[in-house]
Structures are given as C-alpha cells and as structure tokens.
Symmetry: C2
Subunit: 213 residues, 2 copies
DNA sequence: GTCTATACTCCGATAGAC
DNA sequence: GTCTATCGGAGTATAGAC
C-alpha cells in the first residue's frame, strides 16, 4: 500500500480527461449534441457517469471544449499565402493538408459536421468572423492569380468549398464510402489514391499548371 | 354545423401526415435520430404530440418512412447510362440533377447526412446493395470511356464521390456556406453559379470534352 | 378521430457517504 | 477523489375520456 504521489494524481486526471474527450468526440459526432447522452459517453470512456460530470462540469462545457479543440487543429492548418506563391504548390498543399486532417481526426471532422448540420448554433461567431475573414483573404489571392493568367477565372469561394467538401467527405460519409467500396476501413494506399485524384482533377480543372513544369 | 364527409376526413389525414413528415424531416436532420424528440416534431407540425404518434405509430417508423421517401427521390434521379453516350453530356447531367435534388430537398439531404454520420444503421443494406451496384455499373462505363480516350484515366468511384460531396455540401453545410458568404439564403443566381463552376472544373479536370464542340 | 392523463424510462445534474 | 443514491424534468408510448 503506497500513497499516490501528486504526480500520480495529476497523471490519472490527465488520462481520464483525455479518455473522456476522445469518447465524447465520437458520441457527439454520431448522435449530435442532443442525441449524445452523458451516460453513453461515460460508457465509451469506461468511467461512471458521475465521474464524467465531475471532470468536465457539464455536457455543454464538454461539447464546447471539443469544438474548441477541433477549431484549434483546423486553425493550425490554415497558413497564409501571397500572390507571389506558386498556385500549383499552394493548391496542392491545401488539398493535402486538409486531407491529412480528415484522416488523422475523422471524429473531429464528424463533430464539426454534426454541429453545422444543426445550424451551427455554437459556431456562428467563428464562421462569420475568423473563418470568413480567412476565406476572403485567400479568395483575393486566387482572383489575382486568375488576373495574371496563372489559373482560370473560377469563383474562388466555390473552389474553397469544393476542396473542403471533397476531402471532408471521407470522414463525414465514411459509412457510405466503406459500404460502396466494400471495405472495413480505408488504408494508406486508398488515401494516397484519393488525394492524388483530387489534386489532379482540381488543379487541372482550374487550369493551374506548375511554374516549374 | 355540417357533418364532415369522408373526403374531408381523408383530406385532413393526408394534410396532417404531410405536415408531420415535413416537420420531422427537418428535426431529424438537425438533431439526428436520438436527438430528435417527438415533442419537437409535433410543435414544428403544429399538432399535439399524441396526434403525431397516433398518425405515424412510433418515432422509429416515422424515421424509416422519411428515409424511404428520400431514397425514392434519390432513385428517381439515378438513370442508367451506356458506353455509347457522350461523357460530357452525361457528367454534366449528373452534376446538374444532383444539384437540383440538393436544392429542392435540402432537409432530405441533411437527413441522409445525419443518418450516414451515425454510421448508417438504417441504411447499411441500401448502401451495400442497390447503391453499390449502381455505382459500380456507372464506374465501369467511366472506365471504358477512359480506355477509348474520351476522358483521363481517373478512378471512377472517387469521381462519383467527388460529385456527390461537392453538391451535397450546399445542403449539409448550408449554415457554413451562408455564414462565410454572409447571405441569408442562396438564390437562383448563386445555385446557377455554383453548378456552372462545378461542371466546368470537374469536366475539365477529368479531361472530358464535348463530342459536339 | 382527437385530446387528456398518465405509465414508465432515461436524461443531466447534485448531495453526501466513503 | 471517487462512487451511490437520488432529484426534477423530459423522453416515448399508451389507455381511456370525449
């Protein structure tokens, strides 16, 4: 019988909180905010229901924390670009990084999808503020590329939506993708194949050719 | 005081059932199966909760009926194609009809999205049967077009997913689209613009050119 | 056919024993 | 810090009055 050291206690807390966050992300993603029960989250995390509430305070706080975690992952991916950059490189990097996020955090992507599906009640501010600003900033660069003849004069906002939707699809509609392709899960080669396909079709479709080719 | 005729009674029933279906489609789409409450559906339909259950039997039956209604709309759109058809015409018709469905039935699209998001528990059979068969049939035609040099050798299944995701996005992620474009809703011109954009980029991206051009 | 009342279950959240 | 017991409310569904 040894007394747990403060470090042990902290470690347990951190581990439990991590388990709760991961379990909750999955449950919220599948059933939405209202459809998710603290009970179901607790079971998925392997803890009693009251412990979950003890750690996170309330269902609402837990949900908000998860959205914030997902938005910080998203923001970490959104680097700036300038007119001087190579369109082909930027577009390809955009598609690939978005696909990586989809792949490494499918539950987060689905959580976001569920939130937007119900009208984005918790994310209105983010969508109409930070994210809108980022989109328009990038859109202006795309337009300048078009003017310089580096790509076709396509609507830059529709292009961003195209890339978002095409990549997110493999997380949000995973059940459909797996059903139709008759797989249990997509492996490295599948993701490679999809990503290459999207880069090829979208770049060519926008009339983008690499400067160095 | 007149006695209602049988025709009146039937008419009331039909009207109520229609109201319930439409209201339920919206509520299920926003909150998922578990998150939707019969109470909320009843309020949206302007009827007492017990009347809703009286008409539809149970929450589960109502949900299944809605999925079936959506799948029949979907199926009505899936016409067959042959190798002899013009790739440009077929692809463009595919994109446009899918976009029309998205536009005329956004709640149905969101209902489907919510169902797939939770792992498609009610639609496994449809996805792995009917729909998979349809996809592979079409995929084979795309491959033959590629062999004949009528389009680039792209993966036909990824192409179908691209078209599905890019169009559905405007129903499923409507809240995000409206937030970023700062609109209250998308009008005719917006849908026209998006559809033209998608046709242009996807056809060109796949190396498809019209036979008649 | 329609509405009221209610049965019974599960929800989120908390108080209090250990 | 953790678990048990329980509260008040909301969930689906039904029985029975009108």
């Amino acid at each position: 019988m040894t007394t747990p050291t403060p470090a042990d206690v902290t470690r347990t807390r951190v581990r439990n909180e991590q388990q709760i966050l991961d379990a909750a992300e999955d449950v919220f993603a599948r059933h939405g905010y209202r459809g998710a029960s603290v009970q179901a989250i607790a079971e998925a995390a392997g803890l009693p229901k009251s412990n979950v509430l003890y750690y996170v305070g309330s269902k609402r706080k837990l949900y908000v924390a998860l959205l914030e975690r997902m938005m910080s992952r998203w923001n970490a991916m959104l680097d700036d670009i300038s007119v001087e950059d190579d369109p082909a490189e930027v577009l390809e990097a955009f598609i690939r990084s978005k696909m990586t996020l989809t792949r490494t955090h499918p539950e987060g992507s689905r959580l976001f999808a569920a939130e937007v599906l119900q009208g984005a009640p918790f994310l209105q501010e983010y969508l109409r503020g930070e994210l809108r600003e980022w989109v328009h900033q990038r859109a202006r660069v795309f337009e300048q590329w078009s003017e310089r003849g580096l790509m076709d004069p396509v609507d830059p906002v529709w292009l961003i939506f195209l890339i978002w939707s095409a990549t997110q699809h493999y997380a949000d509609f995973e059940a459909q993708v797996l059903g139709i392709t008759d797989r249990e899960r997509l492996d490295d080669a599948d993701y490679q194949s999809v990503t290459d396909f999207l880069c090829q079709v979208i770049l060519k479709g926008c009339g983008v050719t690499s400067r160095r080719s």
